[in-house]
Each structure stands twice: as structure tokens, then as C-alpha cells.
């Protein structure tokens, strides 16, 4: 102990460095926390909504699949039911949004007896191919939107809506 004497000067130096270090850390930590905050933020809920439609029952013929999720408008929470037209293209699941790109009506598969293999909008007779491509000469100006879709425990799960990637 006697060979390792700490002088008064050294002791004061260590003490002040230590205290100063704590103070600097106290200031820097929140700043760093602010800077990386977006990375740490947790996403609310899962992106995919599970439906009660079994994947095994899906054929090449589009069927309507309803799915419900909770939507928050400011302080008001409500259950929203949306639907999608789901079919198989080979082994790939495809889900199209039923919202007409013209003015937002709901389109139906084979909605018109004259066009049994197209989506039909009852409002202004807009039509789409099976892959969502709008048919020229009808009012819609773009293809139907597409949902991200995957199989979850044998059932269809529907995710975010995006622009049509099939056409």
C-alpha cells in the first residue's frame, strides 16, 4: 500500500474526471437516444390480417375474402371490414383489391353476365382482366391494386395494399 501512494493532486484529478464523465454521459445519453429512436420504435400489431379462408379451397377462380381490422381515426376506434379477390395463379396466391380505380366502387368477379371472366364495376361498367389490368375503353384509368398475401397456418393472410405488380 505504501509503494502506491496517491497524491492529493492525483486524487482530485481522478475524482473530477469521474464526476465530469458522469455529467457528460448524463447529457449525451438522451441525445443519442433521440437520434436512434426511430430504429427502436416498435411497429404496432402485425402487418398481416388472418382471414378464415383456407388456402386449400382457393382455386384459379377469384373468390371474395373478407377481413376485419381495427382502424383508429383520431380518438375513434372502429372495426373495418374490407374484402379482397383471392385466386391462385399456379401455386402463387394473388389478392386483388376490389376498389375500382375510377371512383372507388366495389368491383365483382363475373359481375356482368356478358363478361364472365372479368371484374366488373356496376357503377359505370368498368371492366378489368383477371390480373387486374383495366380494359381500355372502360372508365377506369389504371389496374386494380394488389394486396400482399401469404399463407399462415393454412389460411390466407392479407397484408398491405400496393400497386399492381402483375401487369
Amino acid at each position: 500500500m505504501s509503494n502506491n501512494r496517491v497524491s492529493r493532486r492525483q486524487f482530485l484529478g481522478y475524482t473530477l474526471t469521474g464526476v465530469g464523465g458522469f455529467m457528460a454521459a448524463g447529457m449525451l445519453m438522451p441525445m443519442v437516444r433521440f437520434a436512434v429512436d426511430p430504429v427502436l420504435q416498435q411497429k404496432e400489431g402485425s402487418d398481416y390480417v388472418l382471414t378464415d379462408q383456407a388456402v386449400a379451397d382457393i382455386t384459379e377462380e377469384p373468390v371474395r375474402v373478407d377481413f376485419t381490422y381495427e382502424q383508429t381515426d383520431a380518438w375513434y376506434k372502429s372495426e373495418v371490414t374490407n374484402s379482397a379477390w383471392v385466386y391462385k395463379d399456379g401455386d402463387k396466391l394473388i389478392a386483388l383489391s376490389p376498389v375500382c380505380k375510377h371512383l372507388g366502387c366495389t368491383v365483382n368477379w363475373a359481375g356482368s353476365p356478358d363478361y364472365p371472366t372479368q371484374f366488373f364495376c356496376p357503377c359505370h361498367a368498368g371492366r378489368y382482366e383477371k390480373n387486374g389490368q383495366n380494359i381500355p375503353g372502360t372508365p377506369p384509368l389504371g389496374p386494380l391494386d394488389e394486396y400482399q398475401v401469404k399463407e399462415q397456418d393454412g389460411f390466407v393472410a392479407i397484408g398491405a395494399v400496393r400497386e399492381n405488380t402483375l401487369v
Partner: protein
Amino acid sequence: MHFIGKEIDQYLSQQDYIDTAVVPLLQLDLSENGMKSSAGASEYLQSLTAMLEKQFKGRILLLPPISYGKIANRQRIAAELLEELQHTKFKHIFYLTTDSEWRTIDSLKNVLWLPAIPMEDMDQSFKNSVMEDQLRQVLPLFTKEWSHHS
């Protein structure tokens, strides 16, 4: 379209396409005994018209429900509505109601009278399927009217 600011902008720019108005007519009964069925009828009518709007969003403008008391003079309400709707470019106007008294008023065309179904005890999925059935009865009336005059 709903009767809200944002969608009215869209309506105003697309009046050629959105040529149908839907007016829900709703009787209020605030007496102790009548309140519950009146509220049920209101719930039914508003769910149905909201679903209708979702289906035909690009062709109909759904107005807020016209509410009136039991003793209201339907004839007068009809006249006032017609007067107001005269200023618009709608080619088709539908009135939806659960109030049977409208069946005797001849001045309004296309009054769809539907008996209210009490829904408060149904669970969500059953309610949806009941409302889908109701909607399926109403939709052809619209498409028929449109195909007749277009």
C-alpha cells in the same frame, strides 16, 4: 361518396358520373317505450346505407339521415327535400326508410321501404351476413333504375 368535405370536392368535379343521391329518412321516437326500437331502426338504416355507399361509392352521394319526430308532416318534408334537390344535377334520387308512413306519400319517387331488423344482440359475423342479405335485395333496384335511364 359520403357527405363530407373531402368527398364533396370529388363529387363536384365528377358530377357527370355521380348522378344518384341516396337520402335516408329516419323517424325519431324518444318516448320511453319507443326509444329502443327507434335506435335499432337508426342503426339498421345507417349500416345499410353505409354498405350501399361502399358498393356504389363512385355513383351515389349518401346524404346524412333526414331525422324528424313522430308527428312530423311527411308531406312537407318531402316538398322541402324536393325543393332542395332541384338545385342539384342528380338524375336519380333514392329514399331509404324504415318508416312505413312514407309509403303513402306519392310525391317522392323511389322510396325504398325496408322493415328494420333489430341487430343489437347479433354477433359481428352474423350481423354482417344479415346485412349482406339485405344489401343484396337493394342493389338490383339501383342497377335496374340505372339501366332504364342511361
